[in-house]
Amino acid sequence: MQPHLLDRRGFLTCAGCAVAGGSLALAGFAGGARAATRPDRTLVLLHLSGGNDGLNTVIPFADPAYAKLRPKIGIAPDKVVTLSPSLGLHPALASLQPAWAAKDMAIVLGLGYPNPDFSHFRSGDIWQSGSGSDQTMSDGWAGRLFVNGGMASQAVADTVIVNTGAGAAFQASGATSVVLQNGTLNTGWIQAPVAGSASRPASLQGVLASDAEIIAAAAGLKPVSGVTLPVTFPKTSIGNTLAEAARIILSGVTVPAIAAQDGSYDSHHDQLTMQNQRLTDLGAAIAAFRDTLIGAGKWDKVLLMTFAEFGRRAYENGSGGTDHGTANAHFLLGGGVQGGFYGTYPSLTDLDNGNLKFTTDYRQLYSTVGTSWWGVPASAVAASFTSFPALPLIRNPASI
């Protein structure tokens, strides 16, 4: 009832031939390559939907150009949560200070890609598919790694999407995603098909196969609903989302990826109020998530990574907000993370039409997750992300 597994196996044989080349690699795929990946490690991918303003999140407070670009909405240096002599966090993210101090939070600076696109849709597609701006890919970056890299054979599903949205990065033919809404995987409508259904059209068989996938995932995820969280999460949208993610991880079920979304961060107007609220909620939820997993001894099995379709324009607009921009800073947190800054902050004076010039290709994040976190065979990662090397931010890289 799970044809996707067959598909994947078939594809793997091909991937082994074409990508890895030698017979050794092929034997590896056939024999036990999946065992070598780390499906016990979970990626929680958090989409800051709408495009969070990185410049007011990880703030270059010591640069005089910052105040000039942001005369109305700039954060005063004495309000910034200082992380280094030149950089600090928005005050609403003070809740992340303990993670920074414990060195389990990395901040990657200047993330972007050449010839940036300013459309939510298109740039979102680029980030979620892991493509260049001159390419169109129909599958997601992580879904591609699952399939090419032979991930997650033991998993109940490759990805659990919490509540809604954000699943695009995990889509690929042969990768399974299920949606967990309000704590349950709804299967109430599914029944066993009546006798004779098997002789009905292929179209119906396709629906029934997906029914079976959902039932299997629901059975696998059943322990989730029994988990009581020892820490109270904020009663906010992102609080509920990360509480759900924590329940999944604490339940002990094998899920290589959890997709989550928060937003909107599309701060064209009155950014100060809006971003303050969003980041307050976000920081509090992440702090509760971290406390929970540390308490449960699972923090080193989790990597939380943020992304957004783009950063925002360096200079503020006339409405107390910022328009769509380019390079952005993102966070990676987890017990396995080597905390600190990675990459360099884009110049605030050498701008491209008012936009920051990216300094780190965003696809390096995906190489990092694939190679160092999940332990996807380097050949499979390279097939997707040639020339985008992993960043050295995982303490104990999965080695293949």
């Binding site: 169109t136 129909s138 809404q181 009546v194 029914d211 996938e213």
Partner: protein, 452 residues
């Protein structure tokens, strides 16, 4: 395979369907459609469909029914579009209009007297793909209007118009196709995806065709198309074996003469309206009708809708409803107010079909690619929302007491099953006395409800 159930369909909504079942017309021609057949034709050419649509087809023969649908095709929207579509293409509210446009089209689909028109517009949207990714809301709306105006007309005329359509030109980089530095994007996709199919042209043909389109330019601020003679490569080109100092329209005419084109286009129509895999002999008959009409879409569609495969009982439910069909059909079948349908466009997007934003130039692959564990869960959620709305807005008009469901008879259950499903139920009905909302809920969650 299909149980021989005598169908009697009532008026437009499921409510009258239950309460006021219409009788068969007293005199029916011997070759008149069965209820099952009428439902099949309406489902394959519309959204849903409603009992009224099925009812209207019942007295007719197959050919009469198909001709009625084709005669009813529209070239303009039934719902007047908002004023902004005629405004300046320099649109300060482009982002807002992008958000609104899918809902505006949903509204048209929900209320048009010719659902087949909108199914054809959706077909062309997925054939001559352009996208919000590179195109503004105003130009995407105008392309949508172009598809409607030419939905079942001349394929050749449509191709020529699409080639100079601002949305297409911007999506496939025609403005970057300069005499000195040709851009092959439009020339390639035009041959590969719009007209001939892979393997039926060479790389040289693409390069030469791109040269013929050099200088084609759309002013992005006005939408005005012009051929910039100074930017046009006026030299000789050889495209698909024909040599001359061709311009873009010449190349399109050469492409339109290719013997492979009619079957390429017809096969795509077959997969949209008839079955997942064309029957070669029957397809060839339809291709003949297409060719002899000078590549008119209407005779092609007529021929396809009258093939033996189309009417074969084994072909019922062989296709998968797109998310758009699923949402629009659910709204109509649950009698939900069309005024609220715009908000449902987001549901279609979560099920994988964000209108005006196909995933790439190939469009949505369709068929079983619509169905996976994630999208099926979203489909179930759409039904739950629709039933919630049904219970709060529709049921109170019928229920004997507030908060109560409406008891219905076994014959009504059979009627509803035949209306909503193209195949017999896949799940076993729950025991107990049937009630209206519970039966609707159960039928719309049946796997066969995803099919058409």
């Amino acid at each position: 395979m299909r149980r021989p159930i005598a169908l009697r369909f009532g008026a437009a909504l499921c409510v009258p369907l239950i309460l006021a079942l219409a009788a068969f017309p007293a005199v029916r021609p011997a070759a008149a459609l069965t209820g099952d057949e009428a439902r099949h034709l309406a489902a394959r050419t519309g959204f849903g469909p409603t009992a009224a649509e099925i009812d209207a087809l019942l007295p007719l023969t197959r050919a009469q029914a198909v001709d009625t649908l084709l005669d009813g095709l529209r070239t303009t929207p039934f719902v007047p579009p908002p004023d902004w579509v005629n405004g300046s293409p320099v649109d300060p509210d482009n982002d807002i209009h992008k958000q609104a446009l899918p809902g505006i089209w949903y509204g048209e689909m929900a209320v048009t007297p010719s659902p087949l028109t909108e199914r054809l517009v959706l077909f062309w949207h997925n054939h001559f793909v352009s996208s919000f990714d590179k195109v503004s809301a105003i130009y995407m709306y105008r392309q949508n209007a172009l598809f409607r105006a030419n939905a079942a007309g001349s394929f050749g005329s449509l191709l020529h118009q699409v080639a100079r359509d601002p949305a297409m030109m911007l999506y496939l980089d025609s403005n970057s196709n300069h005499g000195s530095t040709p851009n092959e994007n439009f020339a390639r996709e035009m041959m590969e995806l719009f007209t001939l199919g892979e393997g039926n042209y060479s790389e040289t043909d693409v390069r030469e065709a791109a040269r013929a389109f050099t200088g084609w330019h759309v002013d992005t601020k006005t939408g005005i198309f012009a051929v910039n003679a100074k930017d046009h490569d006026s030299g000789s080109k050889t495209v698909l074996g024909q040599t001359g100092k061709w311009g873009g329209d010449d190349v399109l005419d050469i492409v339109l003469q290719q013997p492979v084109l009619p079957s390429f286009v017809a096969a795509k129509f077959w997969r949209e309206f008839v079955s997942p895999t064309p029957n070669p002999a029957e397809l060839q008959m339809a291709v003949g009708a297409f060719q002899s009409s000078g590549l008119q879409i209407k005779p092609l569609l007529r021929a396809l809708l009258l093939t033996p495969t189309f009417w074969d009982p084994a072909n019922r439910g062989s296709l998968v409803k797109s998310p758009t069909e699923f949402v629009i059909g659910t709204f109509r079948n649950a009698s939900l107010p069309a005024s609220e349908i715009a908000g449902a466009a987001g549901s279609g997007a979560r099920m994988g079909q964000a209108l005006f934003r196909p995933p790439n130039v190939k469009g949505w692959p369709g068929y079983l690619a619509w169905i996976n564990s994630e999208t099926l869960t979203v489909r179930s959620g759409v039904i739950e929302n629709a039933m919630h709305q049904f219970k709060s807005e529709v049921l109170p008009q019928l229920a004997p007491a507030p908060g109560k469901d409406v008891p219905i008879a076994a014959t009504d259950v059979a009627q509803l099953t035949a209306l909503l499903l193209p195949l017999p139920e896949t799940y076993t009905p729950r025991p107990g006395a049937p009630t209206l909302a519970a039966v609707l809920d159960y039928l719309m969650h049946d796997p066969a409800y995803n099919l058409k």
